[in-house]
Symmetry: C2
C-alpha cells in the first residue's frame, strides 16, 4: 500500500524563496500524514511559465540552489518537485527531481515540449532522453511532465513497459472553460490503456494572461477517480494505492531503474479520508477562474486595492463583483464618471451597484473636462463634424481620471472590456482600455450575461440589478447610442467570433454557416483591423481555448484579406 | 558561366497578390537581363514573419495558389521562391520552390528552424528532411534557407559533399546594428570552407517590430564579394559565376539531384555591370533602419500622414526628422503642447524644428485642460501633495490631444520615447507612450544624440538646433525638472541597460564592473518594475540585438529579485 499526496499549490513566477518555503511546508504536512510520496506540479519551484527569466544564468543557478535546500526536508518521505535542470553543456530541461531521505535520487527530464498556443517551451528547453523509472522496493513508478501524457507517443508507454504500476504526472496546465473534462477523459484513457494508477498534479493560480485551475486527481488502473483536489484552490490530497509489489524484471534498453527506497511501502493504519469535492458548474467554473486570476494579478504584483470605472452597464458591474470576491469589498473603489450623454438610469445603476456591494463609491463628472478639450481643440476642429474623435475623448478622459486616482493612491485600475468588444475594436485605446488588468477581456458578451445571472443566483439576491441586465448595451458616448448601431446582435456576433478567432474558420465556411457574406465580411474586417489596439491592451484571464495575447499572434501589419 | 540574379525585394506580410505580382515582375526583369536563375528571399510570397496567419488553412492554400500562378512566368529562366509548403499530413514547411520553364521542378524544406529571440518557427513548421540538390547541366547547386547556413551542422555540408558548386541561401534576417558584418563574415567562412560560390538574398522592409536590411551578396569560393545589393533598398543585382561544369558523381544517401535544365549554361556575351555599393556608416545604418521601418509601418498599414508631439527636446526632434525622411515633409504634422512648466526656450525650439523641416506646425496649450482636471479632482485630491499623478496627467492630456487629431484626421501618432526611458519606465503610459508606432523605442538615449549629430552632418546644416542637442534632458512636467533628478547620467545608464537587458548580466557581474551596487540595484529595479508599461507599448523598430517586445519575453508578474 502506497500513500500518495498531491500538492496542488499556488507558486509565484520567479519567487524562488517563497516557492521553496511553500514546498518545504507542504512536504512537512505530507510527512505528518504518513505519506510515502508527495508530488508537486511542473516547475513548482520557479512558477510557470518563467519565460525569459530562463535565459538568465543566475536565475537557473538560484533555482538549483533552492532545489538543493529542499533536499534536507525530505527525511522519511519522497518528494517529486518540478524545477529547471541544466546539463554540463548548459542546456536546460523542464525537469522533475525525485528527492528522498535528504538526497536527490534521480531526475526526469520532460520529453514532449509544447510550442503552440500559449506555450514556448522549445524556446528554452531541450527534450529529455533516456529517462529512468523509479522504484519503492518492488513497486516501480514512472514520472512524466504535462505534455508527456497528452502526446500519443509519450514516454508513459515505455514507463509502463518497464513495469511501472504508477504514473506520476506533474503539470502546469492552463485553464480554459471545460478543459477539466478533456483532461479527466484523457487521463482515464491513459490509466486504462496502460493498466496503471495515474497521479496527476496541476498547480493553481493566476499568472498574467493565464490561470491554472488545479483539478489534481488520482485514478485507478480501471480509470476510477480515487482522489481529487478540486479547482482553483490550494490543496493537499491523499490516497492509499493498493498495489501488490510485482516488479517485472523486463529490462528495457536505456531504461534505468532508480531505487528511491529499498523497502516496500507498508500499510499506514487508518486509511486517509477523501474530501468530497463538488464539481463546478460550467458558468461557475469561469467565474472562479476570473476571481482567482484577478486576485493573483493584484496580490502577486503587490497591490492592495483596485479601482473600476462604473458605467451602470453590465460589464463594469460584473468586473466589480469579481473584484470584490477577489480582494474584498473594502479594497474596491467604484468610480462613476457621467457625461452629458449618461442617462439618469445608468447613473443610478452605477451608484446602486456600489451600494449593493458595499464598496466605496466616487462620482466625478467629466463634463467640465470634456468642455475644456472641445474649447482647446475648437480651432483645429473648426468645420469638422462631431464623430468618433469626440466619443473617444470622453472615454480617454475617464481613463485619465482612473489613472490619476491610481497614481495618487496606488490603486490598480481594472478595465471592463469584454472579448466581443476587444475583438471588434468596439473600445477606446487609452480610454476604457486603460488599466493594469483586463478582467473579462476573454469573456464574450453573451457569457458576461450568463455570469451576471449566475452571480445573482449564487447570492440569491439581485445584486446586479435587472435594469442593468435588461438594458440594451450602450457606450453612452453620443445621444441615443446603442452597441447594436455598430455591431451585430451579440448572440450572432459571438458565434462568428468563436469560429473566426478561436477556430480559424475561413469566410467561405462562415458564409455557408450564416448565409450572410456581408455580415461576415464586416465582422472579419473589424477583427483584422483592430489588432493594433489589442497589442496595447493590458493582460487578462484566458478562459477560452484561444485568447487574445500570446495565444494568438497575428501581425499588426497584415495585408491578408480573405474576404 | 552562370548568370545569377538576387532579388532583394520588399514584400508585405499577408499581401499574397501584391507579393506575387512583385515577384513576377522581377522574374521578368531578370529574364530580360539574360539571367539563368533569379533568387528571392525566404517566404517572399507570404512576407516574413506571417505568424499565426500560418494556422489558417485558407492562408496556406492561397499561398500555394499564388505559387502555382507564378510557374508560367518562368519561361526560359529558373526562379527560386520562398513559400509555405504543406505535406499530405498537413504539416507545414518553410520552403523554397525551384521553378523553371513553367514548371515546379523541386522543393527545398528548411532544416534548421530558429525558435529564439524574435523567432517562433517551431510554432509552425516541421524541419525538412531528405532534401534534394539541383543541377543545371553538369553544375550542381544547393538551396538552403536562412538559419540553415548559420548552424554549424547545417545542410550546406552535405550539399557541398553532393557536388554543389553553388550554395543559394534565401533569408529573412532581421536587422540589428552591425549585424551585416557578422553575416558577411559568416558567409565568407562558409564559402571558403566549402569551396563554393555563396549567393545570399535577404529581403528588405519593415514589419511591425522588425526591419530587414537586405545586404544580399554573392561570394566567390575564395570568399571574395562579387556582387552586393546594399542595405535598406530594393534591388536586383547580377553576377556571372565562372564555373567549370564538373559534376561530381558522388552518390550520397538520400541526396536526390533534381535537374532544372539539361543544358550547361552558356556565356551571355557582355558581362553584367556591378553597381558600386557604398557601405553605410555605423550610425547612418541605424538611421536608415529607422526611416525604412517607420515608412513601411505607416504605408503598409494604409496611413498617409503622421503626427508627432514636438516638445522642443531631442527625442521628438529626431523622430520628426525620421518621419520627414520616411513619408515626406508634407505628410508630417508637428504639435507643440506647452504647459505652464514649458520654458520659452523649448517652445521656441519646437517651433524652430518644425520650421527647419518645413512641416505643418500646430500649437495647442494644455493649460486650460490641465486646470479643468485639477478642478475636477480637487475634492478627491484634497490634502494630498502634488506628485507623479499631476505629472502624468499632463503627459496624458497631450496623448489625448494627439489621439483626438489622429481620430479626426486619420493621422498616425508617432511616439518619441527612447529605449533608456522605456527600460526604466521614465515615460507615461497613455501619455507620451500613446500612439501607433514608437520610432526610437529601441534606441538608447546616447545613440539618439549620435543620430541627431549624424543627421545635421549629413544635411550639412543645423536642422536639429544645437540648443536642443545641448540642453539637459527634461520632461518639463514640474518646475525645474531634469531627467537626471531621477535617472543616472545616460552614458552610465545606457551601459548598464545594455548589460542587463541585452546581455542578461547578473547584478553581481554589474557590481563588479561599476563598483556601485546601489546604482545597479536602482536601475534593475526600475527595469523589472516597468514590464507592465512596456507590455502596453506600441511596436517600434528593433535596432539592437535584443529589443523590448517579442524579442524579450518577461513575465509582468515576476517575484524574482536578483539584488
Amino acid at each position: 500500500m502506497l500513500r500518495v499526496a498531491l500538492a496542488q499549490i499556488n507558486p509565484t513566477v520567479g519567487g524562488l524563496d517563497g516557492n521553496r518555503r511553500k514546498i518545504a511546508g507542504t512536504i512537512q504536512k505530507a510527512r505528518e500524514s504518513r505519506s510515502d510520496i508527495v508530488v508537486f506540479p511542473e516547475l513548482a519551484l520557479t512558477g510557470y511559465p518563467p519565460e525569459d527569466l530562463l535565459l538568465r544564468d543566475q536565475f537557473v543557478r538560484d533555482n538549483l540552489k533552492a532545489l538543493a535546500q529542499l533536499a534536507p526536508q525530505t527525511k522519511g518521505i519522497t518528494a517529486v518537485v518540478g524545477f529547471v535542470d541544466r546539463d554540463k553543456n548548459r542546456k536546460l530541461y523542464n525537469a522533475a527531481a525525485v528527492i528522498a531521505d535528504g538526497k536527490l535520487k534521480g531526475i526526469y527530464r520532460k520529453e514532449k515540449l509544447p510550442n503552440y498556443g500559449v506555450f514556448d517551451e522549445k524556446r528554452y528547453f531541450t527534450p529529455g532522453e533516456n529517462n529512468p523509472v523509479f522504484s519503492f522496493g518492488k513497486i516501480i513508478f514512472g514520472v512524466n511532465i504535462c505534455e508527456d501524457i497528452w502526446a500519443d507517443d509519450g514516454p508513459y508507454h515505455c514507463q509502463a513497459k518497464a513495469g511501472a504500476q504508477i504514473l506520476i504526472n506533474l503539470s502546469s496546465s492552463p485553464y480554459h472553460a471545460g478543459k477539466i473534462k478533456q483532461r479527466e477523459e484523457l487521463l482515464k484513457k491513459r490509466a486504462k490503456a496502460m493498466g496503471v494508477f495515474v497521479c496527476y498534479v496541476n498547480l493553481i493560480g493566476g499568472q498574467d494572461e493565464l490561470v491554472f485551475d488545479g483539478g489534481s486527481l488520482i485514478l485507478s488502473p480501471k480509470g476510477k477517480k480515487i482522489a481529487s483536489a478540486g479547482q482553483f484552490q490550494e490543496g493537499l490530497v491523499f490516497a492509499d494505492l493498493k498495489i501488490t509489489p510485482q516488479r517485472k524484471s523486463k529490462s528495457l534498453k536505456n531504461k534505468k531503474v532508480i531505487c528511491v527506497s529499498k523497502a516496500n511501502p507498508a500499510v499506514k493504519g487508518k486509511a486517509v479520508e477523501l474530501p468530497a469535492i463538488r464539481a463546478l458548474g460550467a458558468v461557475e467554473e469561469i467565474y472562479e477562474a476570473l476571481v482567482l486570476g484577478t486576485r493573483d494579478y493584484i496580490k502577486k504584483n503587490g497591490f492592495q486595492k483596485a479601482v473600476i470605472g462604473l458605467s451602470g452597464g453590465i460589464d463594469s458591474a460584473l468586473v466589480t463583483a469579481i473584484a470584490v470576491d477577489a480582494i474584498g469589498r473594502e479594497n474596491v473603489v467604484g468610480v462613476s464618471m457621467p457625461s452629458p450623454y449618461s442617462s439618469a438610469e445608468t447613473k443610478a445603476d452605477a451608484k446602486r451597484m456600489a451600494h449593493n456591494l458595499s464598496i466605496r463609491f466616487i462620482e466625478i463628472s467629466i463634463e467640465h473636462i470634456f468642455k475644456s478639450y472641445l474649447e482647446t481643440l475648437e480651432k483645429e476642429f473648426v468645420g469638422q463634424t462631431c464623430d468618433i474623435a469626440e466619443e473617444n475623448l470622453q472615454a480617454r478622459i475617464r481613463g485619465n481620471l482612473l489613472m490619476a486616482l491610481s497614481n495618487k493612491f496606488g490603486w490598480l485600475v481594472l478595465t471592463t472590456g469584454n472579448k466581443s468588444e476587444i475583438a471588434t475594436g468596439y473600445c477606446t485605446l487609452y480610454g476604457d482600455m486603460a488599466g493594469g488588468f483586463a478582467v473579462i477581456k476573454d469573456v464574450p458578451k453573451t457569457t458576461v450575461y450568463k455570469l451576471a445571472e449566475f452571480y445573482n443566483a449564487r447570492r440569491k439576491k439581485e445584486i446586479i440589478a435587472h435594469s442593468i441586465i435588461l438594458r440594451a448595451p450602450t457606450a453612452e458616448l453620443k445621444e441615443g447610442q446603442k452597441d447594436q448601431d455598430t455591431l451585430p446582435p451579440y448572440d450572432i456576433l459571438d458565434k462568428i467570433l468563436k469560429d473566426y478567432v478561436e477556430l480559424d474558420k475561413s469566410p467561405a465556411q462562415l458564409n455557408k454557416k450564416t448565409g450572410n457574406p456581408k455580415l461576415i465580411k464586416d465582422v472579419i474586417r473589424m477583427v483584422d483591423r483592430n489588432e493594433y489596439k489589442r497589442r496595447q491592451s493590458p493582460p487578462g484571464v484566458k478562459i477560452t481555448p484561444r485568447a487574445f495575447g500570446k495565444d494568438r499572434r497575428l501581425p499588426i501589419t497584415n495585408c491578408y484579406r480573405e474576404y
